[in-house]
Symmetry: C2
Subunit: 358 residues, 2 copies
C-alpha cells in the first residue's frame, strides 16, 4: 500500500499525506462520513461527491443482513450497487453486532447473534467478515474486533483484547484481495498497558494501516487523548492512523495534531437529521422560532446546495413539515462544512493559507 | 388571459393548446403535480423541472397555516420561497378545510374552522382566500368553493352550490392581481341539473378558466364521465378547462378526449411514496421480492434519474431500509412517466408521431 506524507506541521505531530486506493487517492487528514446501508442518508452519491467527500464508510454487518452480500456481489460490489465512484471503507461490523444484534455470544470462533431485522441466527467470524468485505469491494477493510463498552474493567478488557488479537491474525490470514487494504484495530479500553500491548501486537501482525477503536464511547475527552498519546507513538509513522468514531471538529483537530490521518463519525449526517447545523458562527438549530422569517442562508459564504438555493425560513418550513428535502439539504450542508474544515486542516498542516477549498 | 388552441383531434373533442402565464407558457393538455406545502415531496425544484413538469399546485390552506402567508409574502411569494421558476397554481383550500380542519362551520361568510396543526381558530372567506393566493404569487388562483362529499343528496348539493356561486362572485370581486388568472369551479355533485346550472352561472360570472371540481371523490368512473359530458359543452371553448383531482393516465386520456386541458392529481407522487411505480409494462411494486437481485432499471428506456442511475435491486434495498433517497427517486420516476404520457397525448392530438418527448 502506498501512503505518502506530503507535509508535516512544525508546531505539532500533524501530517498531511496521500493514501492511494483502488478508487483514487485520499488527501489526509481525511474524514469519512457514514453510508452504513450503502447510502449517505437522504443524499444521492453525486451530491455527496459534490460536497467534496473523498470516501464513505459502509457497514459489513448492516449490508450482510440487508440487502444481503449476494445481492451486492451480483451487482459487482457496493460501488456499482449504489453508484459511488470514489473510495469506500467497510467497517467489519464488530461494533454493530455488539450494539444492535440480539442474543449474541462471543466465543473464540466469532460472534453468534440474531439479526435485529428478522431474528435469523448468524455467526460472524473473522473469515466470514473478510469474505463479506471482499464481496462488498471495499477499498479499505477492517478486521473483526470486539469493541468493549465504557467503562469496562481491566480483566474483561484484557480477555477481550486477546480475542481481538486472535481475530486480527485470522483476518490477516483470510485476507487475499490485493486491491483492498486491510487495517488492524487497536483496542484496550482506557487501560494504557492494554492499549500499548494491543498496539505492539497489532503492529507485529502487520497491516496496511492502523485504527484505534473503542474511543468516543463515553469516556472523558482527556482520557481519549491520553490513550492516543500512549498508542500513536507505537504505530509505524509511514502507515495511516485512523481514530474510529471521532468526532467533532475540535476533536478531529486535536487528534490530527497528535498525528492521526483518518477519521469517521456519524456527527455531520446524524446532526443534520436532527436539524442541527454546523457553521463558523456556531450551531444553528433549524427549528428555532427565530428563523421563521429569516431569508438568509444557513451560513453566509457556504457553497453547499442548501445555502446556495434556500433560506433558513424555507428550510425551517420543510423541517417542521417533516419534508425529506430538509434532511437532504441539511445533510449536504454539514458534509460540506466538514469537508471545508478538513481542507483547511490540510492546508494549515502544509503551511498554506487557511480558507483553501477543495 | 391568452389561451391558444394549437391543434384539435379529428377523432374526438381533444385539443392541444398554449396557456400563457406570468411564469411561462403551458403546453396543454397539462398535468399539475402536488406541491401542497411548497415542495414536491422529497424532490428539489430543479429535479422536478428536469422531469419535464410544467406547473405545480400549492395549497392555500396548508401554506396559510404553515409557514404562514406573511412568511411567504416576505420571501416574495412561493416561487422565490421554494426556488421554483415555472408556473404555479394555488388551490383555494376549500377542499382541505372540509377534509382536514376540525370543528368547521360553513356559513354565508365563509368557513370557520380550527387548524389541524395547532387548533387555532380561523375563518376562510372568499376575500381572505383571494388575499392569500395573491400573497402566494400564484399564476393561477382558484375560487373558494364547497366541495360536496360523495354521495350527497340533491337538496344539500343544491344549497351548497348556491353558496359556491355566491363565493365565486365575491372571489371575482376581490381578485385584483392582473398577473394572476382566476379560475371558477363548477360543482353540483353527480346531479346533472345542478352541474348544468353551476356551469351556466359560473360562466355568467366570467373567469379566465373553468375547473370542474367534486369529481374523483368516490363516484363510479361512468358517472364522472357523464358529468363531464354534461358540463364541458357549456364551458366556453376558448377558455382552459380543468378537471380537478384526475387522475390515472387512463382517466386523463378519457377526459382529454372530451376536451379537458388541465389535470392535477396526487397519484404519481403519492404512489411513489407508497413504492408503486408507473411503467409502460404496468405497475411495479418496488418492495416485490422478485426484484431482490434485479439489476435492471425500473423501466427500460426511461431517462429519469432513478432509471438512469440505479437498479431495481438497489431501489428495493433503499425502500426496505426506509431510506428517503428511495422516495425521491421513485417520485422522479413517476413524474417523468406522467410527463412523457402527457407529451405523447399532446403529440397524438396534434397528429404527430407518438413517443415524442419533452
Amino acid at each position: 500500500m502506498r501512503f505518502e506524507i506530503t507535509a508535516t506541521d512544525p508546531h505539532s505531530r500533524a501530517r498531511a499525506g496521500k493514501l492511494y486506493t483502488a478508487h483514487g487517492v485520499l488527501e489526509t487528514p481525511v474524514f469519512i462520513p457514514s453510508a452504513s446501508l450503502a447510502t449517505v442518508r437522504g443524499c444521492a452519491p453525486q451530491e455527496v461527491a459534490q460536497a467534496g467527500v473523498q470516501i464513505i464508510a459502509c457497514n459489513a454487518y448492516h449490508l450482510w443482513l440487508r440487502p444481503g452480500v449476494e445481492v451486492i456481489a451480483k451487482a459487482g460490489g457496493v460501488h456499482r450497487f449504489m453508484g459511488w465512484k470514489r473510495p469506500m471503507l467497510s467497517d467489519s461490523g464488530g461494533f454493530q453486532v455488539l450494539s444492535l444484534a440480539a442474543a449474541r455470544e462471543v466465543s473464540e470462533e466469532g460472534v453468534r447473534f440474531r439479526s435485529h431485522l428478522d431474528g435469523s441466527q448468524r455467526t460472524l467470524t473473522p473469515e466470514t467478515c473478510m469474505a463479506i468485505q471482499n464481496a462488498l469491494g471495499a477499498d479499505i477493510a477492517m478486521i473483526l474486533d470486539e469493541c468493549c463498552p465504557y467503562p469496562c474493567d481491566h480483566e474483561y478488557t484484557a480477555r477481550s483484547l486477546g480475542l481481538t488479537l486472535d481475530w486480527a491474525r485470522r483476518c490477516k490470514a483470510a485476507h487475499t484481495n490485493p486491491h483492498q487494504h486491510l487495517f488492524g484495530i487497536v483496542q484496550g479500553g482506557v487501560h494504557l498497558d492494554l492499549r500499548r500491548h494491543s498496539a505492539e501486537e497489532t503492529v507485529r501482525i502487520g497491516f496496511a494501516g492502523y485504527a484505534i477503536g473503542g474511543l468516543s464511547v463515553g469516556e472523558p475527552r482527556e482520557q481519549m487523548l491520553e490513550v492516543l498519546e500512549a498508542v500513536l507513538p507505537l504505530l509505524p509513522a509511514d502507515r495511516p492512523r485512523y481514530v474510529m468514531g471521532v468526532g467533532t471538529p475540535d476533536d478531529i483537530a486535536a487528534c490530527a495534531r497528535l498525528g492521526v490521518d483518518v477519521f469517521d463519525c456519524v456527527l455531520p449526517t446524524r446532526n443534520a437529521r436532527h436539524g442541527s447545523l454546523f457553521t463558523q458562527q456556531g450551531v444553528v438549530k433549524i427549528k428555532h422560532a427565530g428563523l421563521r422569517e429569516d431569508l438568509g442562508p444557513i451560513e453566509a459564504g457556504c457553497d453547499c446546495p442548501a445555502c446556495q438555493g434556500y433560506s433558513r425560513a424555507y428550510l425551517r418550513h420543510l423541517w417542521l413539515a417533516k419534508e425529506t428535502l430538509a434532511t437532504r439539504l441539511l445533510t449536504l450542508h454539514n458534509l460540506r462544512y466538514y469537508e471545508r474544515f478538513m481542507s483547511d486542516l490540510r492546508a494549515a498542516i502544509a503551511g498554506e493559507e487557511g480558507g483553501a477549498d477543495d
